[in-house]
Amino acid sequence: MEISSRELKIIQTSAELTFNDILGTWKARWGINRMNFKVEPGLYSVGKPDSNSPVLVSANYKMSFDSLRKELMEVNAWILVLDTKGVNVWCAAGKGTFGTQELLNRMAIVQLEKVVSHRTVIVPQLGAPGISAHEVTKFSGFKVVYGPVRAKDLQEFLKSGMKATAEMRRVKFTAYDRLVLTPIELVGTSKVSLMIFGVLFLLNLLGLGPFGIVDFYAYIGAVIIGCVLTPVLLPWIPGSPFAWKGWLLGFIWAVTVNILNGWTAVPQYSILRALGYIFILPPVSAYLAMNFTGSSTFTSFSGVLKEMRKAVPMIIILIVVGILLVLVDSFI
């Protein structure tokens, strides 16, 4: 039997993002083609790395990969891309695809021990839920150093001899961080929204309406409040359950809609309809805001479960009562 040494396969990349990379990121944020936003797993070189250059581990979600390499201007480094099925580091670590097993496999496949003379890999700290550092060392001899949470701190981290400051270790969740996550929330609701418009349209045809322009903007407003406004204003809205925060803003919106419609002044605008809005709109926002727990970086499973046990039944009851009110209103 012939034992041949495998060829070392190294893919070149750079710290420069092309227009296409940027367009791709933008599209992924809006949910266009985001499941196919992958790079090939394997070993990449940035700059002119040699056997002493650091090895940075990443996921094969293109946005993760791009956000890493764009911070590597004038750095010579290796990037080891794990096969996480196109999922980002944080999610994949939670699922275990960004995990001890895959890291060990990938290091073996690319023959990392032949490429570098040192025995250290830098894993992003957000990958820690999937990686057991001491086990990686036990099976491969490579030491795992957890890098900073944000790729933009990498240069400083490398310069300081791979020491992350407390600041670099902390996950932050700024208004901007939250804002960039909102388009996907909006896109996610658009299907359901179209269905709701369809049903309202049918009801109109059946003569159960009239559902008009007011219902349309009232609903759109509630969606925007739940998907965009609540996430962005998150820490400034009193209370801690997300659903509550959404409900509160939704309630303000419902009252606003009623006032805009000249409620109490215009006689044909009945109290039933006004109440209907107050019942229906806030829970719509509440539900969407609650879904933002998935995008947030600080909600625990136990916490979300606790919140949902109360919020979900409330949301259903409020919406059902609200719909009944509106239907009754359109009959009389």
Binding site: R169, V171, F298, T299, S300, S302, G303
Partner: protein, 99 residues
Amino acid sequence: MKNRYLKNVATLKLNSDQCRGCGRCFEVCPHNVFIIEDRKSVILDKDRCMECGACVKNCPFNAIEVKPGVGCAYAIIMGWLTGTEPSCDCSGGSGDNCC
């Protein structure tokens, strides 16, 4: 402004007898839940824990317990509807925060 979530719900437990003060938990926790005092890890603020499981996975002495899970309402709803464990399947987010 700090983002805070519900109090007294996290399932995090630390068994001090097993802890050797290596500091790994302190290093990996993204929410600064632990500090090391007198060569032992101490839970500084349990309410900050998001149950990601990083500390448990990286403690070489099995001193920490947490029920890891996704803090995502959508995943939990899908879990209820399909009768499976909630899991993070929508993917996405940026490189540094998720799903």
